[in-house]
């Protein structure tokens, strides 16, 4: 079946530092990957969409300078949170979509900023 792995599951970083998270699709080829941030206040916020053979599209309030994303092949994507601050806390979710309509999520990377 289709699975999406995310690593790490949890991470703690000091304010102003950066951290990288990874996403891997297993059992299917992810033609597009979406990165979301889930927080109690704002439910699911779409950060960016990455589609193979297309430029990565960032949503309003999110930039490549702050959340650089790499999507080198159909099974792997990574995102870095640069200069993390308190407002960047949350559960970062990777959603991968294959050839059909279904989008599968990983378990998320929970970011705590001290």
């Amino acid at each position: 079946g289709a699975l999406v792995y995310q690593y790490p599951r949890r991470t703690i970083c000091k304010s102003g530092t950066s951290m990288r998270m990874e996403c891997q699709a297993v059992g299917f080829q992810a033609t597009s990957v979406a990165w979301y941030r889930q927080s109690p206040q704002k439910t699911f916020e779409l950060i960016a969409l990455s589609t193979v053979n297309s430029a990565i599209k960032y949503e309003q309030n999110f930039t490549q300078e702050k959340f650089p994303i790499s999507h080198p092949n159909l099974s792997f994507s990574s995102m870095t949170v640069l200069n993390a601050y308190l407002e960047d806390r949350g559960l970062y979710l990777c959603g991968a979509r294959g050839a059909y309509a279904e989008q599968f999520f990983g378990p998320g990377t929970r970011l705590t900023v001290l």
Binding site: V33, A34, T43, F44, L49, S54, R97, P107
Partner: protein, 114 residues
């Protein structure tokens, strides 16, 4: 403006009852509606989905009823079990959207009492 609305925010049912979760949307272009189930500390798991060309989708104890004219849908959980206690998110996507951008509701927290 919230494009996908869910109600109620929380719902408590007894084991064996049917839980009914409601969802409505604004964008007429939405044509794919997945429901996700999320347990604490985990990522959202795709539970069941429906395309706008259908008015009903059933998968075991889970049924989606869809009313395109009224832009409403509902998720029915028949014979609710304590293990169904989770937060359920209604989401929507339009076919022509690039990649896999889903718009989520704020979720309905379901508690099934034994």
């Amino acid at each position: 403006q919230q494009q996908v609305r869910q109600s109620p925010q929380s719902l408590t049912v007894w084991e064996g009852e049917t839980a009914i979760l409601n969802c409505s949307y604004e964008n007429s272009a939405f044509d794919y509606f997945p429901w996700y189930q999320q347990f604490p500390g985990e990522g959202p798991a795709l539970l069941i989905s429906i395309l706008s060309v259908s008015d009903k989708k059933e998968d075991g104890r889970f049924t989606i009823f869809f009313n395109k004219r009224e832009k409403k849908l509902s998720l029915h959980i028949a014979d609710s079990q304590p293990g169904d206690s989770a937060t359920y998110f209604c989401a929507a996507r339009e076919t022509n959207s690039a990649g896999n951008k889903l718009t989520f509701g704020i979720g309905t927290r379901v508690l099934v009492r034994p």
